[in-house]
Amino acid sequence: MLSRADVEKVSLLARLELTPEELERMTAQMVQIVGYVEQLAELKTDDVQPMAHALEVHNVFAADEVRPSLPREAALANAPHHDKEFYLVPAVLGE
């Protein structure tokens, strides 16, 4: 069964910060929901092909030609932190 430590590990993989209270509640809810979805185990599916998509999967190729793309200004317009040229992120090196 899912433990609080498992859920904490998943929260790092998911890049979510959870408070101790959230972690507690999330663990209980995930245990309940995962318990529900585990009913799928009762079906025998060894010979069934997985279905990732509702449509027959096929490659769709686009012509290799230069087309206008989003101008830099527009691409940066919604960024919370930028210097008009690049997106800015907190320093990770040389702390």
């Binding site: 899912l2 498992d6 859920v7 998943v10 929260s11 790092l12 993989l13 998911a14 890049r15 979510l16 910060e17 959870l18 959230e22 999330m26 809810q29 995930m30 309940q32 929901i33 995962v34 529900y36 979805v37 585990e38 009913q39 799928l40 185990a41 079906l43 599916t45 069934v48 092909q49 997985p50 279905m51 990732a52 998509h53 509702a54 449509l55 769709v60 686009a62 989003l70 527009a74 691409a75 317009a77 919604n78 960024a79 919370p80 932190h81 997106y87 992120v89 907190p90 320093a91 990770v92 702390e95």
Partner: protein
């Protein structure tokens, strides 16, 4: 009769006959919004000046006898999950409170080209995750039939605004029932097209193999008109299918002869309220009186639909929502404060001699991601990201995600077998009429089970429509019709037949004036 009770098709005829102008129609709906949306809270944003200017421009073109698009001045409401260029698109999330998309979704482009008047953006569960519209970060939408109840979700605003006479047409999205369920609970007509029928370009992604855009309206005829505008191949969405778009608005009036209807044995089991069952069985009698034959069928894997869905949808969501990183767009935590706190945590641990714990602390970038996402997302979105991340993580992938994909095929195969014998599957949309606001918010699993009758169509990729078929305690009930892939025409024609023989779709809550 008040224009607020008339179908879009009737209103369009009046516009074309010069009996009413788009400005008058738009104003009437804006007035209804002004008067009642304080209580219903269907809209997140309305821009009356822009809507009226657009209506005026269309009126002028009509007066000058210039050609007009299919929607020629009809107001249309847009679920706030669709990108509108330069206009705030929040997805019901704090994460996107200030997000202004740099482009229009393909369906928005099509609506504009069809001369729709975009009247406002409607409320939804955050990123379309929910069945009651209570997961919006901004407001809880109420059901116009009973303000203490939910309109359903996630397209709750989209359904409520049509029921409340605030828009004759509206656009919703359906990943597990998010058009059909609110349509049923609000007493309007709502169609989820076949996967690939409508371009998803510019639709903010929740679960990409399940999401589909569709119309909500007062009648099947109106839904046909709107679908004709929305449908079609789009080079910008490689999953949109290149098959011709029928003239839905014309063929919808043709009744279906020798219709074979399937009633799913498993639909009438435990949990279905007797009044809903009665309304569905009465509806089947209506079809019989119109010449349909009825066959008892089985969808044996349907009972696994919700479990399958709640593995696949969160898995896809966890991947899709990884884009909200506080870097490219969307909410970002207060960085100075975050960096200072992190340094403080590190110093304390080092001072206490806990160097290993200090080493294990998030680096500033990871902490920025985690905190921005923690602040930007609400509880349901976090829950689904967590579930999906877990289902896709090493050691669990085969047991959950891969297993669910296999069951998904079994669910699809059930439909393929059933549609060898019947033309349409008819059944309930929900087990009960609208539930009370707050009733299920603390119990995620019970909220998920609301999707019991609707998720299978998304998993199989087929189309489904919900039409009003009765009332219980003065609350509307919905009838679901499901058809094989790309048979929207059949769904709409069958729905129209029913609406010609019944008047459930002409019932309105008290807030919609009669005259």
């Amino acid at each position: 009769m008040s224009v607020l009770r008339q179908s879009a098709t009737e209103l369009l005829a009046k516009l074309n006959a010069g009996e009413v102008t788009s400005v008058q129609l738009t104003q009437a709906h804006l007035d209804q919004i002004k008067q009642h949306d304080g209580q219903v809270k269907a809209f997140l944003r309305v821009d009356p000046a822009a809507a009226l200017a657009r209506a005026k421009e269309i009126d002028d073109r009509r007066k000058a006898k210039k050609p007009l698009g299919l929607l020629g001045g009809l107001p249309v409401a847009i679920k706030d999950l669709l990108c509108t260029e330069g206009e705030t698109t929040t997805c019901g999330s704090k994460m996107l409170e200030h997000f202004k998309p740099p482009y229009d979704a393909t369906v928005i482009k099509k609506l504009k080209a069809a001369d729709a008047v975009l009247i406002g953006k409607t409320n939804l569960d955050e990123f379309a995750m929910g069945g009651s519209t209570e997961n919006s970060a901004y407001q809880k939408t109420a059901n116009p039939w009973d303000l203490a109840r939910t309109p359903g979700g996630s397209s709750g605003g989209a359904a409520a605004c049509v029921a409340a006479g605030m828009a004759p047409l509206s656009i919703g999205t359906d990943t597990g029932g998010s058009i059909r369920q609110p349509a049923a609970l609000c007493g309007v007509t709502g169609l989820k097209p076949t996967y690939g029928r409508v371009s998803r370009f510019g639709l903010v992604a929740f679960a990409s193999s399940l999401d589909q855009i569709g119309p909500l309206a007062r009648t099947a005829e109106d839904a046909a008109l709107l679908l004709e505008v929305l449908a079609g191949h789009d080079p910008l969405d490689s999953t949109s299918v290149d098959v011709p778009v029928p003239k839905y608005s014309e063929t919808v009036k043709q009744p279906l002869k020798n219709l074979r209807i399937g009633l799913v044995r498993e639909h009438f089991g435990e949990g279905l309220e007797p009044e809903v069952e009665k309304a569905v069985r009465d509806a089947v009698e209506v079809y019989k009186s119109l010449g349909a034959t009825v066959k008892d069928i089985s969808l044996p894997h349907g009972k696994y639909g919700v479990a399958t869905y709640y593995i696949i949808a969160p898995s896809e969501a966890s991947s899709n929502l990884a884009r909200y990183d506080g870097v490219h767009y969307g909410h970002r935590t207060n960085e100075k404060q975050m960096v200072a706190e992190l340094a403080d945590e590190r110093n304390k641990l080092v001072a206490a001699g806990k160097t290993a714990a200090a080493e294990a602390l998030d680096n500033p970038l990871v902490r920025m991601y985690r905190r921005s996402r923690a602040e930007g997302f609400g509880p349901e979105v976090k829950r689904r990201i967590m579930l999906g991340t877990y289902a896709l993580s090493a050691g669990y992938y085969d047991a959950y995600y891969l297993k669910a994909l296999k069951v998904r095929r079994l669910i699809r195969q059930d439909y393929d077998v059933a549609f060898n014998e019947v033309d349409l599957i008819v059944g309930p949309v929900t087990t009960s009429p609208a539930f009370k606001l707050g009733e299920k918010v603390d119990d995620p699993l019970s909220m998920y089970l609301v999707d019991l009758y609707t998720v299978s169509a998304n998993l199989a990729g087929i189309g489904g429509i919900s039409i009003p078929c009765g009332m219980s305690r003065n609350l509307p009930l919905g009838l679901q019709l499901q058809a094989p892939p790309f048979e929207e025409e059949r769904l709409l024609r069958a729905a129209h037949m029913f609406q010609q023989a019944t008047d459930w779709h002409q019932q309105f809550p008290a807030m919609v004036p009669k005259a």
